[in-house]
Symmetry: C2
Subunit: 189 residues, 2 copies
């Protein structure tokens, strides 16, 4: 099983570390200024606004890695739009900033609690994965599946735009108390 480095120390970082741990894979949970990444897969479990700093600090280390963007680039001052261009995505921006990495979008449609429990609304938690590198997606999907969740290939990295729309919508529903932070969108097969 691949080694996974997770940059970030928040709720999502810990929840994704749970998944990797259940999969039997090795995981390093790194702060933003910690040791170099060692994993073949590097999860950037930081807010969208911190991605530029990670790229600046660790861009060279990320060459050749599978880099997982989990961000939801929501304008948290208005909670009424995204801060990325309407025809783009945070993942597309990251891929442009890290041309030597294999960027995939994943986990942004999953609330942390549903990653830890493995269920949402009675269904197995499903991680939607978008990316342009089939091997990168398969590597991540293998960990997700071994960690007890479902993985679904959501298409090319271009679909990150729709995944970020789902993530944004789900956040607005939770903030408005229409769904619980332990629930949200489930994917029924």
């Amino acid at each position: 099983m691949a080694r996974v480095s997770i940059i970030g120390t928040g709720t999502m970082a810990k929840a994704i570390a749970d998944v990797v741990g259940r999969s039997g894979g090795a995981v390093d949970l790194l702060g933003r200024d910690d040791a170099p990444v060692t994993g073949e897969i590097v999860v950037l479990a930081v807010p969208y606004g911190a991605l530029a700093d990670v790229v600046a600090q660790r861009g060279a280390q990320l060459a050749g890695k599978v880099v997982v963007d989990i961000s939801n680039p929501v304008d948290f001052t208005t909670f009424d739009s995204l801060v990325v261009p309407a025809d783009g995505s945070a993942a597309a921006e990251l891929a442009e900033a890290l041309p030597a990495s294999r960027v995939v979008k994943a986990f942004n449609t999953n609330f942390a609690a549903t990653l830890s429990t493995g269920t949402v609304g009675g269904q197995p938690t499903t991680v939607l994965i978008a990316g342009d590198d089939a091997d990168a997606k398969a590597l991540l999907a293998g960990i997700v599946t071994a960690g007890g969740l479902r993985a679904v290939d959501a298409g090319p990295l271009r679909r990150a735009r729709e995944l970020e729309a789902v993530g944004f919508l789900q956040l607005t529903l939770a903030a408005a108390e229409k769904v619980a932070w332990t629930a949200g969108f489930a994917v029924a097969a």
Copy 2:
């Protein structure tokens, strides 16, 4: 219970008619060139590409009505994008074309089968409703709920952009056989 006119005779038109029927409401299922609409709520159950014709033919009749846009404006030649501007939505276009109507977005995230059966992935089928008129949303939500489904207020009409992203993503997942046409996104509360 309000009277509902449904313009369209396809699978979605019939599935929405099922919901209205179960609610105890009266429903007229109209073809595109049929009799004038009589309902307080008018569901435009036609493909996105047919909306302009409906507006041209019936725009005057739709003044004062709650007009429900269910469309997913997918580019069906490429199945890789939407045909509306990235910062807009089909619903926003419709609202602009029908300034005297109260346009809401609904049903576009529900596959027809899940409206008829009332369940998706073991959860009650949830109709996400976006719109700027609270009374219009509440009127539709009342019918949806009385018809045995769940209704969730997804916010202002501006959120139709995200609902259309969800609908598009769900269609791509079904076309790629990642989810069944009887399944897809469920909303766990």
